[in-house]
Subunit: 368 residues, 2 copies
């Protein structure tokens, strides 16, 4: 099965229940990336990241992004043959210069470097500069968990989040993710931003003419508001749990932006809207830890499994059908997606149509 | 100045504005700890941690804890001459067995070990088992920042926080702290729990007969409630920002509890209320990173200073007098406390009276 979208309905009549196979979606994505000059290997890597993210149901960070990446790769702000390399290193750490390659490629390279170093040293940090938007942080953490290691991934971005008391954004929504290998269970997997909610959620409420909870946004005056109408032109997202989310954002900025030599806060480029010929200079950071090596064989795994079971078996509120360990909702969707296809939302389908047009691919040709 | 409390008013008439000098408070604390058998060095270390925490204004985690620590040290659940030691190690990591020593001693030893390893390796992780309550996480992170390193500290604890959908607590309020050396500014310093608010804040509302926001607590039925009346007998704190705080809690449990061989979740002992003759088996985790070594000399510091200034100079809401970097409120209080004395709240004063009684110290004898 290499069909992307299992229907031949014209692109203009997108619907909500169109399903794509993981393999078809990956193949389409890789083909498009090769068309703008990525090597076969890099195209496969990036396509796996985006298709896997869609399979998890994280549609905001999956193949929907392909169109924007392709535009920037064609314009030159992202370099199709950019070659991420170690700018500085020691046995337990490295700084990677992304060479303006696609952020997905640089990030996978960086986490793989961290994994290799953690296998030797037990713990390793790899920072990244000259990168770009890196998609879903979870994917890189999962790379580590697949190798039996704990992985932590984070990145900085353009400011969109307020500090307590600020009028307007001062820091990025700076994603952070971790994955813990969990033996006979799927990896514990968290991927979160430091904002209370994603900007897209605020914007969707605006489009529907709805008010929002007063913990999501500050308005033009820097005060909490239930009115999303000005966003994103003015206002800023509130940090998750106030000073806590704000504090974590600055730790991420330090590890992903400051120490790597990447751009920080307002000097980071907007990968979607800024001049496509210029690099965005995002930073990122990856940690890998070989926790299994720190305990007698098998003990770490057994202890993680016991924690998962303890949570599954804990008493529940009447309306809670199940208690989840982070990532279980995503893994449920992933398993279903690989069996039944990925139910691409209409906005993702529309974006894929635009991506196909950018590289002169007819979506239907992908059905062969 | 070695006076603890600069007044001779009897203990029964405690007031809110009694001030203690940092040196006097530290001396009193160290003397009390030596009386129950701690070495001079360990007593000094622990006393500095508790007095510094009070100077930051974090009175819930300062010398107020001394009374409980002394009781447990006398009962044997904490061992006055317990000797924390490396149970396993490699150049970039170690697992410390706390030998049931005071958690403060074990934690300071562990972070110092992490600092030494990070000086060689750039990054280091030190996990801890057989520890106990460790006071304020911020102190250990600050140890690293004082040496020019980034420090991260965390610990597990008895369950007090709900998972989304759980009826009752499943995970500890698991504190996490970090400190970043900031050149001509004081270290950026965050110390937070993964709960929306501290249990003490819920209990205080109960005592005042007030209702609480519906994001603080779940009641006996596992559903959000504005009624604090059942807490802490029933109900559980809500995780900060819902699944985000819950997810971070599990990462902390992994690094502080699972991989260290410490007790986890409900097998951790309650250091205040459980049998004082038994160890609580808390776990903790410390990371140190020599970020200065990863950049050309001085560059990391200049970049952190620039970030601090950028935040200070960002536009503010009308009612915000100032934008704070994490820790600045604490450093302001610290500077004032060292100059003018520490304004001990009445509950801390009452606890110090009880501590003095446990070891047969007359508070007034401390004024000599």
């Amino acid at each position: 099965m290499r069909d992307v979208i299992q229907t031949k309905t014209p692109a203009t009549s997108v619907s909500h229940d169109r399903r794509a196979s993981y393999a078809g979606l990956k193949h389409f994505t890789a083909t498009a990336l090769e068309r703008v000059g990525l090597s076969h290997t890099d195209a496969q890597t990036a396509a796996d990241i985006l298709a896997t993210t869609d399979a998890w149901g994280t549609f905001t960070h999956g193949t929907k992004l392909l169109y924007g990446y392709l535009r920037r790769l064609k314009a030159g702000g992202l370099r199709p043959r950019g070659c991420p390399h170690l700018a500085a290193e020691a046995p337990a750490w490295a700084i990677v210069d992304g060479d303006s390659a696609l952020g997905l490629i640089t990030s996978a390279f960086a986490m793989r470097t961290a994994i290799a170093k953690a296998r030797t040293c037990g713990v390793a940090y790899v920072g990244v500069r000259n990168s770009c938007h890196f998609g879903a942080a979870a994917y890189y953490s999962w790379l580590a968990a697949q190798e039996g290691l704990l992985g932590i991934s984070m990145a900085n971005d353009i400011p969109s989040v307020a500090a307590p008391g600020s009028r307007g954004p001062v820091i990025g929504s700076n994603p952070i993710s971790y994955a813990v290998p969990a033996g006979r269970y799927r990896a514990i997997l968290l991927d979160m931003s430091v904002a209370t909610v994603a900007g897209g959620k605020v914007y969707a409420a605006r489009m529907r003419g709805e008010s929002i909870p007063n913990t999501w946004l500050v308005g033009a005056d820097g005060k909490p508001t239930t009115d999303p109408c000005g966003f994103p032109e003015v206002g800023a997202l509130q940090p998750a749990a106030g000073h806590k989310g704000y504090g974590i954002a600055l730790l991420i900025e330090t590890l992903a932006g400051i120490v790597t030599g990447a751009a920080t806060t307002c000097s980071v480029g907007n990968w979607m809207w800024d001049d496509g010929t210029k690099p965005t200079r995002h930073g990122a950071a990856f940690l890998a830890m070989d926790l299994n090596a720190m305990m007698p064989a098998g003990q770490f795994t057994r202890r993680v499994e016991a924690l998962v079971e303890e949570i599954h078996n804990a008493p529940r509120a009447d309306d809670a059908a199940r208690l989840y360990v982070p990532g279980e909702m995503e893994w449920d969707r992933y398993d279903r997606a690989l069996k039944e296809g990925i139910p691409l939302p209409s906005d993702v389908q529309a974006s894929l149509e635009k991506a196909a047009a950018v590289v002169g691919l007819d979506r239907n040709t992908m059905l062969e």
